[in-house]
Every structure is written in structure tokens, then in C-alpha cells.
Symmetry: C2
Subunit: 341 residues, 2 copies
């Protein structure tokens, strides 16, 4: 135990020890750390040298306590196991890591209670800002954050109040693209499978789907609701579809659902796309892999995350000069086997 490679002694080395080693005052060390330009080049070098020798690691808690702001942000998604959110998280983490920030990851599991609990935890940790894919539209859920002056950027969701950044994808258009495509491929009787409509994504895609039918002046959209957006729920939906008259086409609110539906239909000998056209949403990496590659609606997942992260840091770094932005991407149709009749 006596020979630790680096100089880290038992008596934890702080800014004070560094100052002593470099022959300056603690204040100067702090300046080197936070405003390097305020200190002469020679002194700065000496301090950095001391930091290196002593293996000093700055205490983030103390720093945040005194300065009011830290180098931590929060990220709240619905479900990490869903590749769409994993992609988002990946984009956020990459950018934050480049900028020297840490990301506290939370999953709401689409439960408002868990969301509220996590937001509170984030507030306690004094994060600099939060990226959140909210569980529903109620803007007051972010009150805990606003009261403490914590910036929030909506992720995959439009802004819920005037002065707020948001990065989203136009899900109404996405739903319309999907159903336009299905109608064009000859479907009339279309089933839309989604999670609860309290999820904005599910609701918007439905709106788009109905708009497409209305605009075309033909076709119908029926709606099948399942508990969540997983492949397991997709299988349940598939079974319910099989129990009745099969529609011409099934449009699922995400690819996982579609993969579940596909699995069940194929297992029961239903020919896809011959008998039933099938469409997913998100265009996750695995959408092209199935027996019948899935048509889907592509979203720039990773970029969504990166851009939202950038917006958040911009807002945090300069709250006054920052212009709130609502960025909305347009989704893109990806046609594959599952809708080729």
C-alpha cells in the first residue's frame, strides 16, 4: 500500500496542496482551473506541473456548491432497451463527453411517477440542465427544475411552453408518409398498432395516419392499443389481429411492435406482404434484418441526441444570449419488402 504509482497521498490532495507545491495561493490554482487566461503563462505552467505531480483531482461537489453550476446534465428517456432511445442516448453521451460533461441517465419507463422521482433526483444533484423525453404533455412536470433554474430541452417532443428548446421529428408527417405509402400500395383497411395515446408519439402518428386517409378520400384506419412499445406487446397485438378479420395493412408505432407482429403473423402462416402489408417506425438498425425486411419511417436518432445536447449546453453557457430554438426534423420513408405486394 505504501507505493502508489501516482502521488495521491492518503491526506487527500486538494487545491491547497497543489498551491503549496507550486508556491502560489489556492486562489491562483482555482484561476488556472477556471480562467486560465487570467494567470501568467509561467505561473500557469508551474501549477499544471504541480497538479500532474500530485495527481490532483478536482472535487466536483465543492466546485458545484460554490459556483452554483457543475459539469453534469440529466437525460431522461422512456426505455433504454429500445434502440431508438439507445441511439439518442448515444448521441447525447458522445457530445457531452467531448465537452467534458457527465450524463446522468434516467429511464422513466413511461411512468409519470418514476419520471417525477427522477426529475427530483436530478434537481438534487444540481445538474446543469436536463434533456427529457416527457411521458405526457403536461408542462408543469418540469416545475421542479424551473424553480431551481435548471434548463430543460425537450427531446423527441415539441416545446410545452414558450421559452424552451426542443428537438423533435414531425410525427404527424411520419404517420402520413407511412399511410400514404400503404394506400399507394393498394391497402384500404389499415390497422394502426400503438401504445397508449397519452404518448405523444403514438397520438401524432395516428393523427398523421388519419390525415392521409382523409386526404386520399379512401381507406380506413382502425386503432389497436397495447401497453408498451416492445416486441412482446407486438406479439400480443398480432394475436389480437389474427383473432378477427385481417386488415390489408398493419402500421405499427415503432419497429419493435412491428417485429412482434411479424413474428406472430409468419408463425401462423400469414403471408407478409402478400396478404398483409406491414410497416414499422423508427427504422432501427434491425428493421432491415427480419425474414421480411421492414418498411419503416426513418428518424435521425443519433443526430437528434447530439443536437439537443448542443442546444442544452448553449443555453447553459449563456442563458441571456441564448435564443430558444424549436428544431423539427422531417422523417423519411424507407420502403422494403414488407410493403411490396
Amino acid at each position: 500500500m505504501t507505493s502508489d504509482s501516482s502521488g495521491g497521498r492518503d491526506g487527500a490532495v486538494g487545491i491547497r496542496e497543489v498551491a503549496a507545491e507550486a508556491g502560489v495561493s489556492p486562489g491562483t490554482v482555482s484561476n488556472v482551473l477556471n480562467r486560465p487566461d487570467r494567470v501568467a503563462a509561467a505561473t500557469r505552467e508551474r501549477v499544471l506541473q504541480a497538479i500532474e505531480t500530485l495527481g490532483f483531482v478536482r472535487n466536483g461537489s465543492a466546485s458545484r456548491l460554490r459556483a452554483g453550476r457543475g459539469r453534469l446534465v440529466g437525460l431522461m428517456v422512456h426505455d433504454l432497451a429500445n434502440p431508438f432511445f439507445a441511439g439518442l442516448a448515444s448521441g447525447v453521451e458522445d457530445l457531452m463527453s467531448e465537452r467534458g460533461h457527465g450524463v446522468i441517465l434516467c429511464s422513466s419507463a413511461t411512468s409519470s411517477e418514476r419520471e417525477a422521482r427522477n426529475l427530483r433526483m436530478l434537481a438534487e444533484q444540481g445538474v446543469r440542465g436536463v434533456l427529457v423525453t416527457p411521458v405526457d404533455d403536461r408542462p408543469e412536470r418540469l416545475a421542479v427544475l424551473r424553480e431551481r433554474g435548471i434548463a430543460a430541452v425537450m427531446l423527441d417532443h415539441a416545446a410545452t411552453r414558450p421559452h424552451q428548446c426542443a428537438v423533435s421529428v414531425d410525427d404527424v408527417t411520419g404517420g402520413r408518409l407511412a399511410v400514404d405509402h400503404l394506400l399507394e400500395r393498394g391497402a384500404a383497411d389499415i390497422a394502426y398498432v400503438s401504445g397508449p395515446v397519452s404518448l405523444r408519439q403514438c397520438a401524432d402518428r395516428l393523427t398523421g395516419a388519419r390525415a392521409a386517409v382523409e386526404a386520399a378520400g379512401r381507406g380506413t384506419v382502425s386503432h389497436l392499443v397495447v401497453d408498451d412499445l416492445t416486441a412482446a406487446s407486438g406479439e400480443k397485438a398480432g394475436e389480437r389481429l389474427l383473432a378477427g378479420d385481417l386488415p390489408d395493412a398493419v402500421f405499427c408505432a415503432n419497429d419493435l411492435l412491428a417485429m412482434g407482429v411479424l413474428r406472430v403473423l409468419l408463425r401462423q402462416g400469414v403471408r407478409v406482404p402478400r396478404q398483409v402489408l406491414l410497416m414499422g417506425y423508427d427504422d432501427i438498425e434491425y428493421a432491415s434484418a427480419p425474414a421480411v425486411p421492414l418498411s419503416s419511417v426513418r428518424q435521425p436518432t443519433y443526430r437528434l441526441g447530439r443536437i439537443a445536447a448542443e442546444l442544452l449546453l448553449d443555453e447553459c453557457d449563456d442563458p441571456e444570449g441564448h435564443a430558444h430554438q424549436q428544431i423539427r426534423f422531417q422523417p423519411e420513408l424507407v420502403a422494403r419488402e414488407s410493403t411490396r405486394p
Copy 2:
């Protein structure tokens, strides 16, 4: 702005304001928060009431600064976009959330530099402990943490030093299971596709594969190395395989690689499994979806994460009484179409 629903005033409400409201001293409020049993039921109730009324949110930074330990842990994985790690992270996050802890998520992107940078950041944030899937076997990479007394649990990796917890899956056995299966299905000339052998997972699975061939007294294993464990790299591997004589079977170090290989082989008209048997590893949810469902080796991903998280908290809560554990799961073969000749 004048009518915030909750009582959160501009002059941030701290333990002091709560104390005033409840007619006790700040110390007592702290006791209610940290040692509820030390304070009489009536007083406790009064304090909790005040906390509620004022919408008090404890300052985690101050708390951690003074107490030395906080309610934050770190999690470092190779790649969030990989469903295997997303599953791990999901398990970790669930358990930590139940226990009221936050998780700082980091991705090393299998780069030691980025791993080191992130570990340093975690040390700065004063996390209580860290769960890490290390990029290589060098135990000294955790020195930054040890010096500051931060507990570490190895995740999907055996312990690298004596007194350490670790949760892993036996990858040598996994590799053996896979190749045993391929040999049994008649393959002799087997290609193993993996990322760099500096990744323990890749190395161990290779060891297992060779052991299987040796034990059987027949067959050969050739080794094809690609940059990382993604589907894109799988496609590159597939092209390199096509450039030479096709082996009887391809064993990939994970399912993403296998999906990439499969895509290329099918595109070039190679019959899988007729001409080439194909096997993945991890048994991610999407392994069963492809045109030719992938045989794979299953790992208890989510449980791995949960258990490691539990171990870490156990170690943090009682460093003395804690018995370090090395838990090793056994993987399980899942045979599907891709290895049915």
C-alpha cells in the same frame, strides 16, 4: 411568474428555512433526512410537513461535500448502441433508481483514452462507486478510483485484482458451446470473426472455440479480426470471407457482426445455412428476427446489470462487512435456423 404552484421562493429554500418553518434547528432537519430514527415521531412529522410545504429539495453537492459520500454511481460500457450493453445499462439503472441512486453513464467506445478520461470525470464527481466493463485487462486503470476510495465492480469481466467484485459470463465456455455445436452440425473449417483480441470477450471466445476443436480432434478455426463489434464491421468481414474460399461455418463474436455477415452473404446469393453455417453471440432480442434466424449464445444481460449494481451498493453501504464476490454465469446455446444444415 408570481404564481408558482409550489412554495419554491426565489431565495432558494434550504435546510435552514425548513428548520424555521418547523420550529426546530437545522441540525434536526438534517437528522430527519439522514437518521430519521434519531428524532421523535412528532418532530419528524412536523419537519416532513415543512419540507412538503416549502418544496424543499436537498442540495446533493453540499451533502456530498460534507458527508463524503453521495447518491451517484458511475457506469462505463463499451457501446450504448449495442443492445447487449443497453440491456446491461437498463438493469443497472432500474436497480439504482429503486434504491434512490443516480447513474452517470459513460461510453468508452473501447478506447482506453476515453475510458481514462471518463474515469477521471467520475472521480471528480465523487461517485460512490463504479461499474465498469473495462477495455482491456490492465488493472491499473482503476487507480484513479482506488486512490479516492471509490469502489469498483467489474461488469462482464472477471476481477483484475484480488479484492474486487466481478460479475461475468464464462466466455470460454460460450465459445466452446458455439463451436461444439458447429462441429456437431458437420462443420470442419470454421472462421471466427471478432473485434481486436485486446477485448477480453473476443479473446476468450476464441480460446473456447479452439478448445472445442482440440477436444473434438477435428476441424480448424481461422481468425478474422475487424475493428469493432458492429453490423457495419460484420459486412466488411462478410466481404473478406467472400473474397476467399468460404468456410463451412462462421462464428461471430457477437450478433451484430453476425447480422452484418448474414446480410452480405445473402446478398451475394450464398445459402445460409445450406452452404455456410452461421452463429452469433449474445442472443440479443433481434437475433431471432432475421431472414435466417440466428443461432446464438445467450447471456443473462439484464440480470447481469442488476446483480452487479446490487453488489456495488452492498460494498458501498458496508465496506467492512462486505465480502467480495466473483459471480460467473454460464451461457446457454440457442440453436436456430442459421445452423440447421
